[in-house]
């Protein structure tokens, strides 16, 4: 069979329907999608989780799980009916004609094989292997994917590389056999903004220079607007609107596209600088040093390096930085889940750093933490009622009846229906779970809530809702927030002041509007530059 694709080939999807068989039931995931991917174009498919966009991506690469079934429609490549292909026929299409960039670089590479070998396999499957030139080809592929020192990286195992590097290796694999089409399934949703920008730069550059068409699946309309020629908005298994990127972003017609667009956080400080209030928390030259034993990296690691900041009552300080910058460690120090090596933490006039477990207990109820991942931060065996009431039990707060009333009140405050109280976390969506986590944090009426990336695992629409809820609660209960994020656009929606962290130290801090408008540190400038959705949208 013909394994090369003529440059003018198109990938056409007509009225595609896909359903899953789950416990005897049929659940429709894709309900009649029609789409045309033209040679050399970048098309973004934007939608929230559950919209069917990942199912579509898997159908385009023949990687649907066994429980999925194409119940109607066609997928055609150069007139060949891909949806009717056998596994054997698909093998000639995958890699050679349609490449695939998976979602999570943390798990998408074989952990026990050197990455160079994994790139080599992509070449070897479709061409006779030539041991003399193979290594050079592998290195060239890695270099094109944005790895500056391919000779060294090729001999590494995945766990020895950062997420950004792993995603570049996966990019190299997808492009290795020279496919005319690439399906990228949320290629950067697991990465920081700065790394996301670089990886997307690479994918876009490789695609444009080789004339490869890219179908980019994303939940981020801003990313789509920055990269794609055309955008298709998916909702409930259907494409509700598609068109040239510029047109869709400037004048979305469908109400769901309008909602999506309105939910994208703009890089503009929402809050104005108010009069100073009383200080609640002040942190002075706080450090955390870890000792690393064994290996060439042995020695001490300064995870947090002489960090100083303050939070006033009723205000929000955002701590911004990429992963590994020490911001989460700082959160753990402030909540006293970890012990600082040096420095002071003053909360409402009391030094917390030297207090033992018993002396800390009254402060535990005044400082609460909302963790990053709403999927793992709730005990799966407990009901929502038990989860929200747990802090009340821990502090023997109130009677049985008053606790029930308090749970109902808290659920109401986070805009959850009272009926969720008897459900288990797995029955709730990501956004609902994060609301539960917030309700639990508010149960003891704290003064300070530390949010560790509270919205980074959520879709953009849900993200906007949670941010709005956080602002309302802050207003209503005069809460102070320490808000940790890697995304300056999100930060701009909620914070009064911003501190930018890099390699354990704060490189810049000040009022949000000022930092966004006039960054003094080049690192802050690069973070601002990385935020998607600022550039002029591409037009057809």
């Amino acid at each position: 069979m013909n394994t090369s694709t003529s440059p003018s080939a198109t990938l056409t999807v007509t009225d595609l329907r896909i359903s899953y068989r789950i416990a005897g039931h049929r659940v429709d995931a894709v309900n009649g999608v029609s789409l045309e991917v033209n040679p050399g174009e970048i098309i973004a498919i934007v939608g929230e989780s559950g919209s069917g966009k990942s199912t579509l991506a898997h159908a385009l690469t023949g990687l649907l799980p066994g429980t999925a079934e194409v119940s109607g429609g066609r997928i055609e490549l150069d007139g060949a009916r891909l949806d009717r292909f056998s596994e054997r026929q698909w093998r000639h299409v995958r890699g050679a004609r349609i490449g695939f960039i998976p979602q999570d670089p943390g798990v998408a590479l074989n952990p026990v094989q050197r990455v160079g070998k994994q790139v080599a396999e992509a070449l070897r499957i479709h061409r006779p292997s030539d041991p003399d030139t193979e290594r050079a080809t592998v290195l060239a592929n890695l270099e094109r994917a944005g790895i500056p020192d391919p000779g060294r990286i090729a001999d590494r195992y995945p766990h020895e590389l950062s997420g950004g590097y792993r995603q570049r290796v996966l990019t190299a694999i997808a492009f290795a056999a020279g496919p005319r089409f690439i399906v990228a399934d949320e290629p950067t949703s697991a990465l920081d903004v700065v790394v996301q920008q670089r990886v997307l730069d690479r994918i876009e550059r490789l695609a444009r220079s080789s004339g490869t068409a890219v179908v980019m699946i994303t939940h981020d309309l801003a990313v789509a607007g920055d990269r794609a020629d055309r955008i298709a908005v998916m909702h409930g298994g259907r494409i509700v609107e598609q068109g040239p990127a510029g047109q869709l972003l400037s004048a979305p017609r469908h109400e769901y596209s309008q909602l999506l667009l309105a939910s994208v956080p703009r890089l503009v400080a929402v809050r104005e600088q108010g009069p100073p209030t009383q200080p609640l928390l002040s942190v002075d030259r706080l450090s955390k040093v870890y000792t690393v034993r064994g290996g060439p990296g042995a020695g001490s690691l300064r995870a947090v390096d002489e960090v100083s900041f303050g939070i006033e009552r009723g205000r929000t300080l955002a701590l911004v930085g990429e992963s590994g910058s020490g911001k989460s460690t700082t959160a753990r120090l402030v909540t006293r889940l970890a012990d600082p090596t040096s420095g002071t933490i003053r909360f409402d006039g009391v030094a917390l750093e030297g207090l033992g477990a018993r002396a800390l207990r009254p402060f535990r109820r005044r400082i609460q933490l909302v963790a990053q991942n709403p999927y793992t931060a709730l005990d799966p065996l407990m009901t929502i009622r038990q989860i929200v009431a747990e802090p009340l039990h821990a502090f023997r707060d109130g009677t049985r009846r008053s606790r029930t009333a308090r749970v109902r009140e808290l659920l109401d405050q986070v805009a959850l229906p009272a009926t969720v109280a008897d459900r288990k976390p797995k029955e709730l969506s990501g956004g609902q779970r994060q609301r539960v986590a917030i309700a639990r944090a508010l149960a003891l009426r704290p003064d300070l809530v530390v949010f560790d990336e509270p919205v980074s695992a959520l879709d953009v629409v849900i993200q906007a809702q949670i941010l709005r809820l956080m602002a309302e609660l802050q207003e209503e209960f005069a809460l102070s927030y320490l808000f940790i994020s890697h995304d300056l656009a999100v930060v701009s929606q909620i914070s009064d002041t911003v501190a930018v962290m890099r390699e354990g130290a704060i490189v810049e801090q000040g009022p949000t509007a000022e930092v966004l408008a006039r960054p003094r540190d080049p690192y802050t400038a690069s973070l601002l530059d990385a935020v998607p959705g600022k550039g002029p949208a591409r037009t057809g």
Binding site: G95, N110, Q113, D201, G294, S526
Partner: protein
């Protein structure tokens, strides 16, 4: 790709070796202590339950064997002797324990080796077929078979095989320890449950690995199912199976007690059965020590193979990540990147 000696390797090796030595020492010490605490009198056992000796004679014998000295002195003397390969004499036969062990060991090693080899082949094939099968029903059926065989008692399986192949078909001898033919039935008896263990662990691990995102990445390259199994799933699935293999060797030792008795074969298992039955204390102690050495060696071997199968076992190197160069970025925007 080039082979490099990982930086954490020497440290890892030394630590594993020390653990193995500790396990052997601990087994020796605990058995010494337990046997000392037992209510039975070694001298009485030595002279036989029927023989009546005067208290004076018993005391003299005790003194002769050093049994009247403090427990610590006895233990240190024993440990010193054991380090020189002297485990005392069998009370029953009067032959040095070490001689008895070395005489019996080859028989059991042959049995264990044959049954492990057979078990690995059989179990491996079932696991592979289950993972390769594209029909979920066939896969479920293949994975259900092992749990059936795990629950079959060894002695019953041995007797059934003997009935069928020795008495009905007269294909293999029912007893004896000479020649290859006599090895077949005992080895098969032990191999079937071993195969079931291996099939169960390796099978479910292979199927789990085939569902991992890295298997999808390989399929997206155009790799066939067998290529993904061979090139990616197998090495990831082999790790938990290796750990299980260490446990399986211990199971083989205990299984050999039953199988060697049922088939009247010479070997460690039979020696153990006799030593326990006759309360031959030095022999029991020697056998426990041997079992400890075997287990420690197998686990050491597994630990040494581990880093070959999984590079993450050794101390990690710091991850390579892209450095921040904002100034360089600003100066040289990506060409063709459109921004």
């Amino acid at each position: 790709m080039t082979a490099r000696l990982p930086p954490g390797l020497p440290r890892y090796l030394v630590r594993r070796l020390c653990q193995a030595v500790f396990v052997i020492w601990a087994a020796f010490t605990v058995t010494s202590l337990l046997l000392y605490l037992l209510p039975s009198d070694p001298v009485q056992i030595m002279i036989g339950p029927q023989a009546h000796a005067s208290p004076g004679q018993l005391a003299r014998l005790r003194h002769e064997y050093g049994l009247d000295r403090p427990v610590v002195t006895q233990y240190v003397t024993q440990l010193g002797r054991a380090l020189h390969g002297d485990l005392g004499q069998s009370i029953q036969s009067g032959v040095p324990v070490i001689t008895e062990l070395f005489r019996a060991l080859p028989h059991t090693l042959a049995l264990a080796g044959a049954s492990l080899g057979l078990g690995a082949m059989l179990g491996g094939s079932v696991a592979w077929s289950a993972a390769y099968a594209s029909s979920p029903r066939l896969r479920a059926a293949l994975l259900a078979v092992p749990s059936l065989f795990i629950s079959v008692p060894t002695f019953w399986l041995g007797l059934m095989l003997m009935e069928l192949f020795s008495f009905t078909f007269r294909a293999f001898p029912a007893s004896g320890g000479t020649g290859f033919a006599s090895l077949v039935l005992p080895a098969v008896t032990l191999a079937i449950p071993s195969a079931a263990f291996i099939a169960q662990t390796l099978g479910s691990e292979l199927i789990k690995a085939m569902g991992e995102p890295y298997a999808d990445t390989a399929r997206a390259k155009g790799a066939s199912r067998s290529r993904v199994l061979r090139g990616h799933a197998l090495r990831n699935a082999v790790m938990p199976t290796l750990t299980m293999l260490g446990l399986l060797v211990g199971w083989q030792l205990s299984g050999s007690v039953v199988v060697e008795t049922v088939f009247a074969r010479d070997g460690i298992g039979r020696l153990t059965e006799a030593a326990v039955r006759t309360q031959d204390i030095p022999m029991v102690q020697g056998l426990v020590l041997l079992a400890a050495v075997c287990l420690a060696l197998v686990n050491l071997a597994v630990d040494l193979v581990y880093p070959l199968a999984d590079p993450r076992v050794l101390v990690r190197r710091p991850a390579v990540r892209s450095r921040q160069r904002p100034s360089a970025r600003a100066a040289a925007p990506a060409p063709g990147g459109g921004r």
